[in-house]
Each structure stands twice: as structure tokens, then as C-alpha cells.
Amino acid sequence: MINLNLKKTLGSAGGKMDLDLQLIVEKGQFVTLFGESGAGKTSTLRMLSGLLKPDSGTIEVGGTTWFDSCKNIDLKPQQRKVGYVFQDYALFPNMNVRQNLEYALRKGQDKTIIGELLQFAELGPLEQRKPETLSGGQKQRVALARALVQRPEILILDEPLSALDLKMRIKLQEYLLQVHKKFKLTTILVSHDIGEIVKLSDKVFELQNGRVIKKGAAADFFGLNKTSAKFRFSGEILKIHREDVLYVISVLIGNDIIKVVADRTEADEFKIGDQVLVASKAFNPIIQKI
């Protein structure tokens, strides 16, 4: 279990912000921090991993104190067992893929894990390549594999998929879920993508101005459980156009674009880019073998 109780004054673009939050993450959970940029999500991750020092508070992980301002305890990042995947991947440009992973080995650690991780991440054929020659999705896989070399119990993912195209994102989401289960991790993700959050996480914390303003199970959090409709998806509005007396709304769900008919009174409330829930009764769709 991770127990965070943090206070920190952050200098942000829009002036100062007082971060003050309490978070409890159960062992083995996949948790997402959600919220506008500048809400304190990345700072929270950095404080957990020891890269940023809180002004006051405590960090306890599995019964061990990592930080306690009253008792003057502050473990260095080197002493905290955290795998951190940075938004820019932070691959070492002077090393090839295999060397990037090997660098992460602890002193005396068995090297066989490198081969296992390269294979699991399907990076075998790329192991001699330098990071600059890799695509975004490949870099992401290297960063993730590298974060797992030390077999951390906690995996921190700071918007790991935001720079990737949709197809790669969907693929890597599956991969993240696999990794989370296979390595029995407690995973903390920062993400803005509602579909991604619902797909991946058990629990969501919404941050605003350095505080947790809402928390809940992922599906409840975004109101996806708020109707009896069982045939439901979340997506983003791509297009709204009028046809005869109706409006046709195109919604991007995963990598499919679906169309939903709406009345004028509904269409007026929507704009392009809105995140929406699309639902129908389980009785209505037809199902066919393909």
C-alpha cells in the first residue's frame, strides 16, 4: 500500500500553487491521476519517486517510511524501488537498446532478465539500435522495459502514450495491462485520455490546483455506470452535421469512428472534441460472425 500525504508550494506558470493531497493506493492497483495540466500530477509522481522534495508530509510504501518531514526521513531516489517511465522516455542516447536496459541492472543482478524483457517487449531485433533510430512506440517499449529491469514494485507512468498515434496507443495500452499483471505491479499513471483511463485503471483520482477533488472506480468516475445501457463506449466527437431533421454525430471510439443520430436539442449541447458516452440497450445491436 502506498500512503501519500504531501504538502508543497509549487511555482507554476500561472503563479504559485499549494499542493496539498492525501492519496492511498492499494498494492496491486492500477491507479490514474487525472486532471488539467498544472494540477500537480507530475509533481506528485516526482515526490513519490524522490525527485522532488515535499515541503512537509509523509510517504509510506508497504509499511516503510520513504519520507517524513517530522522525523527527517528522506530516502534518495536511488533507494526508492520505483520504475519511472518519463514522458520524453529519457532513453540514454549514447547507448543502444540493450545497453540502456543493462545500465539499469543493480550491482550483481542476474543479467538474464535483460533477455526476458527484450523478448517480452518484442525488442530483440532492435537491441543494437540507438534510441534516435527508433519510432515513438519502440522508444516507449524500451523505456518501459528499462523501468522493469530492477523488478520494482511500483511503476510510474507519466503520460507514457500521449506522444503516440492512436493505433500505437491502443496496442501499448494492452501491453501496459499485460505488464501490470505479469509483474504484479502497483502502477500509477498520469493520463488525459478517458478511454485509456477506463480501459487501464482500477481507480481514478482527479487533481485540481494541487488537491484531490474527486476519486472513484474508473467506470463510475466518468459516469459510465450511470445508465442501465450495457452497450456503451466512451469517445470523442469528431464531427456534427445536420441531415434532414436530424443531426448525425461522428464519434471516435478507440480507432473506430461510429455515428450516432441525435435530435436538435441534444446536438446543440455538443461541440467537436467533447468526450462523450455512447450507449444503447444490450437488446438492440445485432451480432454476426465475421
Partner: protein
């Protein structure tokens, strides 16, 4: 032509550059990562030789190192080192005088690296020294080269500091730039021209190398 001043110049430049390289890396890495309030003060001190007349620097060093003064006599009595009018003194003076030319490129190189490289290494349990040696420095090779070459070239070209602290002792402190001055004083223009031409060519080639390298020439054909 007497080759001794030229040899002395290059010996001084090599020794100075090696010492500067070793001491500048910790200074530059501290400056690039610290949030300390005394950072601007230290940065200013490091950069002073850029703007100060070399004679000012030389004058104060002459005073400080003179055995008549406390620091100089302490060095003399306890360590047996006499820094004025000696090669050792020239090295110390050159190191101080060329410090910004080594520190600044390295500092700029380190600052230009994304901080996540360092942080990623820390979360993997690596110490700062390991991170510096295996991650940071290998990724700022062009900056290191710039620092080395600029310090070398600058040391070759110094005059005022050397004259103040080293004097003009053949074989000991008479470097090429001083030899040129001597020859001109003696109206021996041909000798002055030989020295000058050699210094000019060497410095030109060195600087050209820097620009070619950092312009990517070596990246494409070397490495």
C-alpha cells in the same frame, strides 16, 4: 629560430588544459544543477577572466604568490612551491585565466541535456558520479571538445598574465607570445613573424576543427 618558446607555450597549454578539464567538470556540473543562491556569485567569479584585463589578474596573483606575502610565504615554507617567475606559477595563472573557456561550454552542454536523463538514472539507483561519467558526459562530447580546444587555444594566446607572473625567463617562462614581443622590441621582425605565423596557423586550425566538429562533420565521417 629558437624553438624553446614555442615548445614551452604548447607544454603550458597541454598541462593547463588537462588540469582545467579535470577541475571544470565538477564545477560545471555543480553550476548546471544547483539551485543555490551563491551560484551567480560563483558563475561571476568563473567568468571574470573574460572581461578583466589580464594584467589585473596577473598583478594580484603576483602579489598573492610573492614570498613577501602571507599566502606566498606559506606556499614557500610549507610546500616548497614558489609560484612567481616559475613554470608552476604560469600553470596556476593560466588555469585561472582560461577557466571560463572550459567551464562554460561544459556547463552549457550539461544544461542542454533533458533533466529526465539524470533523473532516470537516479531512479535506477545510480549515484551522481556514475550518472555523470556514464550518461551525462558521453552525451555532451561536442561541448567537451569545445572546452578543451578553446582552453588550449586561449592558453596559447595569453600574454599579459604570463608576463606579469612569469616574467621573461628563457626556457622557464618565456612563452611564444612573449618571445614575439621581445623580437619586436629588438626590431627583429623576421623572427617575430615566424612565431606569429606559427601561432596564427595553429590557433586557426584548432578553431576550425571545433567548428567542423560541432557542425556535424565528425558525426558524419568520424565516429
Amino acid at each position: 629560430m629558437d624553438w624553446q618558446p614555442l615548445m614551452l607555450t604548447f607544454k603550458l597549454a597541454v598541462v593547463t588544459t588537462v588540469i582545467l578539464f579535470v577541475i571544470s567538470i565538477p564545477i560545471a556540473s555543480w553550476l548546471s544543477s544547483t539551485k543555490s543562491k551563491i551560484r551567480p556569485v560563483l558563475e561571476t567569479l568563473v567568468s571574470m577572466p573574460l572581461v578583466l584585463p589580464p594584467t589585473v589578474l596577473g598583478f594580484y596573483m603576483l602579489l598573492a604568490f610573492s614570498p613577501e606575502n602571507a599566502f606566498g610565504s606559506w606556499l614557500d615554507e610549507w610546500l616548497g612551491i614558489r609560484l612567481i617567475f616559475s613554470f608552476g606559477g604560469l600553470v596556476v595563472a593560466s588555469v585561472i585565466y582560461s577557466l571560463p573557456f572550459m567551464v562554460q561550454p561544459i556547463q552549457a552542454g550539461l544544461s542542454s541535456l533533458p533533466s529526465t536523463l539524470k533523473e532516470a538514472s537516479f531512479t535506477m539507483g545510480k549515484s551522481y558520479t556514475t550518472t555523470l561519467l556514464k550518461i551525462l558526459l558521453p552525451n555532451i562530447k561536442p561541448s567537451l571538445l569545445t572546452g578543451i580546444v578553446l582552453s588550449f587555444a586561449h592558453t596559447v594566446g595569453e600574454f599579459g598574465v604570463v608576463l606579469m607572473i612569469g616574467g621573461n625567463m628563457p626556457g622557464k617562462t618565456k612563452v611564444a607570445s612573449i618571445a614575439i614581443y621581445d623580437e619586436v622590441e629588438a626590431l627583429n621582425y623576421a623572427a617575430a613573424n615566424s612565431y606569429s605565423l606559427i601561432l596564427f596557423s595553429v590557433t586557426f586550425i584548432i578553431l576550425l576543427l571545433v567548428y567542423l566538429t560541432n557542425g556535424g562533420f565528425f558525426k558524419r565521417y568520424g565516429q
